[in-house]
């Protein structure tokens, strides 16, 4: 059996290599110069009443993680500073958004 037909028979994607990339591997391809101050903070209390959870789906860096008690766990370190989260969040006061200190944060190389 050829490799091709073997793949076909088992319904294996021809190039499944990239599909297997974990999110951590994906985010590790970008350079972040991390400052000790969190440039974005999320007020968990506001999130408890939020039904849309827009940020969880939309944040391209996947930094908003829902917790079992209805809150949101947020990490600022691997942030693209894109602004999506504060744009999609409808709960006033849930997100405090600033840029990191000059010189810190995301550093693109081949974008």
């Amino acid at each position: 059996m050829s490799l091709e037909s073997l793949r076909a028979a088992n319904n294996i994607e021809r190039d499944a290599t990239w599909a297997e990339m974990s999110f951590q591997e994906r985010i590790d391809t970008a350079e972040f110069r991390i400052h000790e101050r969190a440039h974005i903070t999320v007020n968990g209390d506001s999130c408890r009443g939020c039904t849309t959870r827009e940020c969880v789906v939309a944040c391209p860096a996947n930094l908003f993680v829902p917790t079992s008690d209805g809150g949101i766990l947020f990490n600022y370190e691997n942030c693209f500073e894109c602004g999506t989260c504060y744009m999609v969040c409808n709960e006033a006061g849930a997100i405090t958004w600033t840029y990191p200190e000059g010189g810190y944060g995301i550093v693109f190389h081949r974008t």
């Binding site: 021809r14 391809t29 693209f80 500073e81 999506t84 000059g102 693109f108 081949r110 974008t111």
Partner: protein, 433 residues
């Protein structure tokens, strides 16, 4: 006495061109960038149309750090399994006077900012501008930064701080910010050997390809793109923000699905993701633009929502460079004339209205909405590829069906009313006309 004549906030294409224009006219210019170097915060799809630089840097094409000159421009319509591709090729675009080029922004923006330095502007990196200073009359006369002893005064501040422009918002130039005016762009830089890219895309040397994609974004309104660099491919999607969560699909999953599409997968087979990135686009054009002039302040580029995102066009860098240049020139005029109030700076808006910057936007005003509308997004790709499927499928012994019949049946299958089709066609004709 102010610390300097003109402060430019943000060393993207808008900021650097503003600084070049003003410094060339002999003004003292400070160009402030929050990244460690210009371009370090900037990401886009991948094609720049730099002809507007002719005025500021006549020999730009000999020095700009470009990857490939675009000689093939494709528009792809994707249904779940089919693809319609309209492909235009012109090798002439690969020679002077050139047309579009792929380039990495950390390369291009850094180069452009160095041209500003060469023209006499002072570049300060690693410094985030945090707000505006105002004089007793409430006129803007400087900025605050996150540096110790970080205030700086000037006669004119030019805000080129990109899509999130906190400066323009701080100055009260934007109405309420509406998420539906923005799209999120995410992309992967994929590495492949140069010769493999050349073969798969049918180009050689530094010829490049630009593919804009409609459909294929997993039911989220938006679009996709593929651009060739020398030894990488930029592949990404542009997603309308409020729709994202409704579909419960994360951006990287939507990219993954696009990569699996039978028309896309062979182009990128074996490629490795070497950089993942994300950035917002001001998508709504004229309908979201802020006021661009205030006392002592001009706004240019994405900060003024001047990016043109109209489906088959995704142009922002050229609009940023042009508006930045005009802002720089207007600031110089106003300072020389001794009137830097909003009325003294009005020549900027006039210039934008007279040139492609606002002319293109006015012409294409309806297009962003049309392209991102549910019908165009979810019904037309299936409709059009359905027509193609039946036109080109040979089902002998059955004779070929008439085109009119195909059109009618496919339109019904796609659930598009004749009225809507006619209306969209007219909007499109008028909008693109």
């Amino acid at each position: 006495m102010t610390d300097t004549d003109i402060i430019v906030v943000g060393a993207g294409p808008a900021g650097s061109c503003a600084a070049i224009a003003a410094a060339k006219a002999g003004k003292r210019v400070v160009l402030i960038e929050r990244g460690p170097f210009p371009g370090s915060k900037n990401m886009y799809g991948g094609v720049i149309y730099p002809r507007i630089l002719d005025e500021l840097i006549p020999d730009w094409f000999e020095h700009a750090p470009i990857q490939r000159w675009i000689v093939r421009r494709s528009t792809m319509l994707l249904s779940d399994t089919g693809a319609l591709n309209i492909d235009y090729r012109s090798n002439a675009w690969g020679q002077a006077p050139y047309n579009g080029a792929t380039a990495y922004r950390p390369d291009f923006d850094n180069w452009l900012a160095q041209q500003a330095v060469a023209a006499g502007a002072e570049l300060i990196c690693s410094t985030t501008v945090t707000g505006l200073l105002r004089d007793a009359q409430g006129r803007i006369n400087g900025i605050t930064t996150d540096r110790p002893d970080g205030d700086l005064t000037a006669s004119v501040v030019i805000a080129c701080d990109g899509v999130n422009s906190f400066i323009a918002k701080d100055a009260g130039l934007y109405k309420a910010v509406d998420a539906s005016n923005y799209t999120l762009g995410v992309k992967e830089t994929l590495s492949l050997p140069k010769n493999v890219i050349d073969e798969r895309f049918g180009v050689r040397d530094n010829q490049g390809v630009d593919i804009e994609i409609l459909g294929g974004t997993s039911g989220v309104n938006g679009g996709g793109f593929i651009y060739t660099n020398l030894d990488t491919i930029a592949l990404g999607v542009v997603l309308k923000l409020p729709k994202l969560s409704a579909q419960k699909k994360r951006p990287e999953e939507i990219i993954a699905e696009l990569k699996r599409h039978p028309a896309i997968a062979p182009l990128i087979e074996g490629a490795e993701v070497i950089e993942y990135s994300a950035h917002l686009i001001p998508e709504a054009g004229l309908d979201m633009m802020p006021k661009m002039v205030a006392d002592g302040l001009l706004v240019a580029g994405d900060a003024a929502a001047l990016c043109l995102a109209a489906g088959i066009w995704l142009e922002g860098v050229n609009f940023a460079m042009a508006s930045g240049m005009y802002a720089g020139q207007s600031a110089v005029q106003a300072i020389t004339a001794g009137n830097t109030t909003a009325s003294g700076l009005q020549s900027y808006t006039k210039k934008l209205n007279e040139t492609f910057v606002l002319k293109d936007h006015k012409k294409l005003r309806k297009i962003p909405h049309l392209v991102l509308s549910d019908r165009v997004q979810h019904k037309y790709p299936g409709f059009v590829t359905g027509i193609m499927e039946r036109m080109f499928r040979v089902e002998n012994p059955h004779p070929k069906p008439g085109v009119r019949r195909i059109l009618r049946e496919e339109r019904k299958k796609a659930g598009i009313s004749l009225m809507d089709l006619v209306r969209d066609a007219l909007t499109g004709l008028k909008g693109f006309g």
